[in-house]
Subunit: 206 residues, 4 copies
DNA sequence: AATGAATGAGGGTTCATTCAT
DNA sequence: TATGAATGAACCCTCATTCAT
């Protein structure tokens, strides 16, 4: 990361790039396991076997299991935040922004599945002190949505109160999707998004 | 069981009633642990310590951990089904029924908290073959909601399609509440229900 | 129940006779379990359930499990000793005595099954210090057989040495029967005994 | 396994050979415990402590206790079969074969003691479905003995019927040896074998 | 005389973690 | 870098034992 193109690549930097890639790969597979088995169901053995390495080897990259899970969750929250900021940022009107966010959020939790687990965690795990940072990111995420709603209200196009309950209402509706919707569903994802977007806009008064 | 009202209570029935109470208490505490730690996070030790007994003693009442969790989930699903049937059954118009259901559902998951865990568990767990019966009950629950929507549509008062996606949209919105709403929230539960009911009704075209 | 007509029977003696019967019944059922499951496979639960009582009740009759097993083993050894003494005692010639013993021994281990377990125990359990007395009885049993052989030798009708090895040879042959012979076998027990008696007599030179 | 004699030993094969040795050592100690405590008396703790390791470590080598016991029993049956086939195979006359088998069988159960436990276990244990294969090997073993007897009968040198009962008679006599004969016995093993061989041959009419 | 209820030690098993190589 | 090997804590479960009733 950050090597100047054209410059000589030292063994050190080569190694660290390779290592960095490996570290990332570990988080990815850990995210898969986390999504499938839930927080308490994650085992290092499961992660390692997906990487075709032994669980002992994981300790070369990370100090312990907790750290791995922490990074997965943090990275998931960061990715979600970046993703919607990028998508929503291009929109201008509150209506477009909100519709765009619905689209982006659903795509994120349905398509970036492993890391979206952060947004969906059931267990009261995020309350763990060690995960403060994750919570801060999620709070930021919420704030982005709140901002969209607020702008719409101020602009007189949305009529909905109170903001927090409404945001959570919508968030719950969207985050519930992975519980019932699968790739094999007769309804396409595009169709689903269209339905959900309509619902959300109707909700805020559009 | 079989006690004549007002009559003397035999030692036998007294004992079995006491045992029944204990068995129920175990399920209750198990439900708390399940709600707090998630399915894979449940330990017999945790359940036992809440009851101030040793984990070995649990085996006097139930054959194994799986059975305990199964009964918690089944009881939760049954309780939810009974509860909304009782509440909603008294309503006549689709609008009243839907509003009443929103109220009942929220009250159930916020006030009967431990057992409402069944409604909130991830499918991955319920897909377990051992839990078929629980799934059937949950499917029945969904059907009750679908029926309300369908009746409203047929009566021309609701305008919303498709039913399944809409039902899940609403269900997700409601089930998300325990993730963010606590007893200490500045918003009262009554106020919350009022907001959510309004949202749901607006959603279906009222 | 069982009161001797004529004499008054105090409550005490009534109780103790009934109790004695119960104690004996416990040993009998324990013997069955011991025969079926082996020493380490015995559980108080298994014994109690055969008696349709709870395992806690066993402690009214015996101080612990070890004591029950000890008594089963001792009683088995004593019964075997009594049985062959009674049977063999009536015979006169060494040949008749030996033949009679073979018959009696086989019948004992095949028909008095539960208590014959003492003679057959596999595990190195009898070496347990607590079971010294059982070992003494078994040694007496062996001595009876040795005596038969010795008498035959002295009388010039048996030609076999050394006595101990020969006795153990025969004992092993007989004690092995329950390992392969069952009630459903095509060969009748009578036929089996006849074959074995012939073998034994041939062995000692008859 | 597959190492070229005299060639270099790769780290891989070195490791796997070491592991193989360890796995075998576990079976050996398990066999000792099995022989001493009986099937139901075996504990992983007992096996592990003989190896100066913790019981958890056993799971690195074998998936569970049942598998360890299965392998001990199977290996014992296979070893016995191989051993007598090798020994007896070199003999020609039925008399020599039978005498040789007696010698080999006794040596096997007295000198290969731990693994000979298979031959001495109660049927009740081997009837376990998981142990079908062990039973097949033991049946093969019996067939080898039966064949020797049959050949002798057909050749007119043995006069003994019926075969199965006779084989079991002899087998019992031999298998009983470990119950009473120890290394410290005043009679040498060689002397014992000589006595038993004579007995067996006398039995079949020689 | 017997039982319901509970306990605690110990057994089988899993798994995060360590460490020499 | 990575692994083989081992550990020990914690988990589920069984069972002999206790004791108030």
């Amino acid at each position: 990361m950050g090597d100047v193109p054209g410059g000589p690549i030292s063994a050190k930097s080569y190694r660290s790039r390779r290592e960095e890639r490996r570290r990332q790969e570990i988080l990815l597979q850990a995210a898969y396991v986390l999504a499938e088995q839930g927080y308490h169901g994650v085992t290092l053995e499961a992660i390692a076997s997906r990487l075709e390495m032994t669980k002992g080897s994981l300790y070369y990259y990370y100090p312990d299991k907790q750290q791995i899970l922490y990074l997965v969750l943090k990275q998931g929250a960061q990715a979600a935040l970046d993703y919607i900021n990028r998508q929503v940022g291009e929109m201008v009107s509150p209506t477009d922004k909100l519709g765009c966010w619905v689209d982006a959020h659903i795509r994120f939790i349905c398509q970036e599945m492993p890391f979206s687990v952060t947004l969906l965690q059931t267990d009261a795990i995020l309350e763990n002190v060690a995960y403060e940072e994750v919570q801060k990111l999620l709070a930021q995420y919420n704030k982005v949505v709140d901002q969209i709603l607020e702008n719409g209200i101020n602009a007189g196009v949305f009529t909905v109160v109170p903001i927090r309950a409404t945001r959570n209402f919508i968030l719950g509706a969207l985050n519930w999707i992975p519980r019932w919707y699968t790739d094999q569903d007769e309804m396409t994802l595009t169709k689903l998004i269209s339905v959900y977007r309509t619902h959300v806009l109707k909700l805020v008064g559009q």
